[in-house]
Amino acid sequence: MKFLRVNMTTQTVQYQDVPDAYALVGGRALTSFMVSEEVPATVDPLGAENKLIFAPGYFSGTSLINTSRLSVGAKSPLTGGIKESNVGGTVAFSLAKLGIKAIIVEGKAPSDNYFVLNVEDENTASLILATQLVGERTYATTKKLHKDFGAGKSITCIGPAGEMQLLSASIQSTDLDGRPCRAAGRGGLGAVMGSKGLKAIIVDRRGKMPPELIDAEKFKKASKRYAKDVRADEFSGEILGEFGTAILVEPINAAGGFPTNNARMGQFDGVEKISGETIARVIKERGGKNKHKGCSQCIIDCSNEFVTKEGEYVTSSLEYETIWSMGGMIGNDNLDAIARLDFLCDDIGLDTMNTGAALAVAFDAGYREFGDFEAAIALVEEVAAGTEMGRLIGNGPDSVGKHFNHSRVPTVKGQSIAAYDPRAIQGMAVTYATTPMGADHTAGWVVDQNLEAFGGTVNARGSKGQVEISRDTQIHMAAVDTVGICDFAQSGLATEAGIGNVFAMMSAKSGQNYGQEEWTELGKLVIKVELEFNRQAGFTSADDRLPPMFYNEPLPPYNVVVKVSDAEMDSTFDF
């Protein structure tokens, strides 16, 4: 496989052999190792010295199901630390099938010049001036590029938010239908792409490069067993296809962990109007699509297509985190408005979570009333228009909080929490506070241990055991994000036999013995490298804290605050 190095300053591209040090990793490990190695921690995230790295997972392009995850890494302009945000769709699989292990974007194009990178095959790529795309939203960008370069191309691009280098800017990528509705949303990496002058990456989807496997037969057998387990699991095999990730709305709300009205409450009165069950029914009645396939190699089909009452496309995919951020978090129970806001964020190129939380802070500060979805839509449109208020919203909750001198800002390291209140599910308090990524639920999702088995295997509203489960899950997820398995296909590795299949595939692909010890060491190494980058960037343990609102304001209905102490937080990465 090759690295494709793209210099935006000189507008040159170069294919390179992959150094041995990076041969056995992909995804998050690769982006974090390379950022750590090649980007000084103190650089301006929006300057020429930062690098933006796109890396398919280690298993992407193999026969293993649900491995079309692309890690995007850089120094984040939002958090000021190292960042990895990953996205599904078609791009990771397409790059792997062209034999490309990573695209490294460095330097900076002359001011106001935007280019598209056209990756044709394993030997041919070029930068093309794209003046005609400046200011275009992602759906229009994709449409034009598909017209000019062919409908079958995978396209990864930014919208106006990325061009304006706003801190909530996402990188959008096309799904199997060619829509730019998949997002590497977190950390403002769209702003980094904008700062480079890179509007889009076009990747040919017709690559046929066989995966590099030392023992192809062993890999094939283990991958088949893995797929069988994912199909057999009720959640990944049935529930996600029928309801999508929105199925989480009701149980998380029941647990009092659905942050509502800027996390003033843990339960939302309008929950039934926006639940997974309701969304699936509405989509079906209107002629939209449930059980929609969004990503290459997917057998779960958790995506959907939300349509208007007249059956016209609105957005894909309407997912749990957005239903929260544009629903309960801003007090909005209007499903059509949530869908519209989801579309606008995709189209403008914005992280739905950071943007919803920014709106919530503005509403909480009295700028508008909670539930005013028309104001929410108008404000997101203002982001694209580049008004002063639009830029505040587009720069995220911290920016809005500063503007209104409002202290109730639910962020860690500048990034908003996700759809699990850390007071009701205290394992998420540990993950939000300590992950090098800023408040990021995917870094260590411990909701199941806090809620299942009739109220959790740990006390969800206490601190005991929370550091341990968050630590273990964060280490595990650093490895999962390295191989590129979709979070929702983790049912395949939930048992001893299941994770054994992953180890078998690691061995078969690398030619090295692989077991639990190597898996854990990989996860630990990734986190250590990320923590060291952040330390060099100026982070201290004081940054591994939740904002005061979570320690001081009891959350209804349980009226509980975060109980995990600072000392416990600081012990999370004692390894």
Partner: protein
């Protein structure tokens, strides 16, 4: 004594019988626990992982009060 049970996710489909859209009225008794209630509702084994009673999460050993509004949820995963 009676309690009202609502099923979520694919539980209505898995319910062994005709599941009314408004939920089930289940005949119960004083001291009935959550674990016992789960056994009373005809569902395949191990399909219920989270239970709430009157808006609060319940433990397996918790007693189910009279006229309780109960919600059954399946195991979840996420990220």
């Amino acid at each position: 004594m009676q309690v009202h049970v609502k099923l979520y996710g694919t539980l209505p489909k898995l319910y062994l019988g005709d599941y009314p859209k408004t939920g089930l009225d289940v005949a119960a008794w004083q001291g009935l626990t959550v674990a016992e209630l789960v056994q009373l509702v005809p569902l395949p084994h191990n399909q219920v992982a989270i239970v709430s009673i009157n808006g609060f999460l319940a433990k397996a050993a918790d007693a189910v009060p009279q006229n309780a509004q109960v919600k059954f949820f399946q195991p979840i995963n996420g990220g």
